[in-house]
Assembly symmetry: C2
Homo-oligomer: 344 residues x 2
């Protein structure tokens, strides 16, 4: 019982969420009667990466502008922005983060529509928001989030499809548990692969568009479990300065499933490998990307791009778990971390 | 002529902008007649850090919710969010970035109020936006931004004060050139200090609230000039996982001027130094923070917190310039970078 078990549990967890999707449809029906001009999301850690997914998905599918909250404006500075015409979403696995609760409390006082997305509906966050979506991941014992991350992404995906009343998207989501199961079959390949990176001290992790969140989640897991200084970038931001870091052998990890941004992502990793002699670990179904990689992790073909973050993160989780073990570290007890982090 | 010269030029550049503040007041008078519910800002690199400053300043002083744009929604995904009730700001030193121009073009077509903040008013960005604020930094020759960064921050500060019609804030800004001059007097201290970090391969850079932008700018300069894998964090986000990285001797750089968030920042760096044996480089006027630091960089007392990012970044720029020289690298020719980066 712990991180590895929770990683393997994900097809079941995601399947259970899909079976109970009327929870989300009920909230969407009520939200559909509220008027809001924009969305603000408050979250920390892996939940903040789910917020990043929501920024792209609600932006693209629902045409909603999404702002990520600066909680300190609500707590330390005590001068929150005007939110009367907003939908304000708080995302927190535990529902206990004081700063996230502060944002929702202010938003509700201001008359905003407020929604909590949490694995603990009976929490301060759940009690503060007008509506609650329980992500129903079951208890997560490991300090590092795995199943609560994918469960939160799926809840966001259902919220987007529900607000759009888009039956085709609901149908596409039904494939998710099976796609995640197929990725878990790569476990042994990933376990063998990580040996090569036992002494990697730093790396960069690339993703763009929908998979910008995958770059963040992969990086955070590498830092908190394996103590690798991994920094996430979009392919665009990376070219505005940080690309200078890359020298012969510099490790570049990338999630680049086929989709609208994959040509640009492949062009960048090609440049890094061919011109700068970077070493590439690639999660992809694009042949050109897999061929450039010293360590390729193939994805099944035909995954809809908007769903791909929930599939791509699976080998990233396995990568982080196994490299932590390969370094002789304990994935259940990362240095200086607790399951619930209380910040203002 | 180059980076060092441009760093030293900043008091004059900032003084010149303050003398011409009627440009900003004119735009503010017109913007004041437009109705908008929220602000969206599109930017890359150092300009994106100025956007982060705007997120806090416009949020706190002007109570405006600020979203940072995801340009790929406008370019690759061709499905931009609804912006008719927004003020959309594009920030770009060159005004040439295609992705930033795409955001402004879509916003203007949708009927949003559009504003360009740029050092090249006669650029694609300047021509696309309804209003233009010329940051008037003069030509910047170095690839790494210095004076265009502080000039952009000051333009954002004037915009905020102008929208709030706040004479007291204008008066506080008048002190800025002298404060920057005083920070430049720390040049020799910083030059001696960086010797110790000649072989630093990675570090983290902390800032919060208004100085979250300082953490990003300091990190980016370290990466692009000195090839140090430096990752920026807010003190809150850092505790949600990445803190696991810190072991004996791990370098922590922090900008923590006194203000609303300084007690929390000092408590975190104390914990890192005392419990985790981190090594601290601190830019601060808080005695407790300077005493914890192996390398303290004292700030003048009494800097208003909202202005402090334009002062704190000066020793950070000097730190990056001198460490680059100490490593035998050329600060004018960072590996693989050009002055104008064109991304979609």
């Amino acid at each position: 019982m712990g991180l590895y078990h929770e990683i393997l549990e994900q097809p079941n967890v995601l399947g259970g969420i899909l079976k109970n999707r009327e929870q989300v449809e009920g909230v969407c029906a009520q939200l559909g009667r509220r008027r809001f001009e924009f969305v603000m999301i408050a979250a920390r850690g892996s939940s903040d990466h789910a917020a990043l997914y929501a920024k792209y998905l609600l932006g693209m599918v629902n045409r909603l502008p999404v702002a990520l909250a600066a909680p300190s404006l609500f707590t330390f500075y005590e001068s929150p922005p005007r939110l009367a015409n907003a939908l304000v979403i708080g995302i927190s696995q535990s529902g206990a983060s004081e700063d996230i609760v502060s944002v929702l409390r202010s938003a509700r006082q201001q008359g905003a529509a407020t929604l909590a997305i949490t694995n603990h509906a009976a929490s301060a966050l759940g009690e503060t928001a007008e509506w609650v979506l329980d992500v129903r991941a079951g208890e997560e014992r490991a300090i590092a989030a795995s199943k609560t991350y994918t469960a939160t992404l799926l809840t966001v995906a259902l919220l987007s499809a529900g607000l759009a009343q888009d039956a085709a998207r609901f149908a596409e989501l039904e494939r998710l548990p099976e796609l995640v199961s197929r990725m878990l079959e790569e476990d042994l390949r990933v376990q063998r692969m990580v040996e090569r990176y036992r002494y990697m001290a730093q790396c960069i992790v690339l993703g763009r568009g929908f998979n910008y969140t995958t770059a963040f989640e992969w990086s955070l897991k590498l830092k908190e479990l394996a103590y690798v200084a991994a920094e996430p970038y979009s392919s665009a931001d990376f070219q505005h300065g940080p690309i200078a870091l890359v020298e012969n052998g510099f490790p570049v990890l990338a999630a680049l499933p086929s989709g609208r941004v994959s040509d640009e992502m492949v062009a960048l990793v090609r440049r890094l490998v061919v011109e700068r002699q970077a070493e590439l670990v690639a999660i992809s179904d694009v042949q050109g990307a897999l061929e450039l990689a010293r360590s390729p992790i193939p994805l099944p073909a035909g995954i809809p791009e908007w769903i791909s973050p929930m599939v791509c993160v699976i080998p990233a989780q396995l990568f982080c778990y196994h490299i932590t073990r390969a370094k002789g570290l304990d994935p259940e007890h990362p240095r200086g971390l607790a399951k619930v982090t209380l910040t203002r």
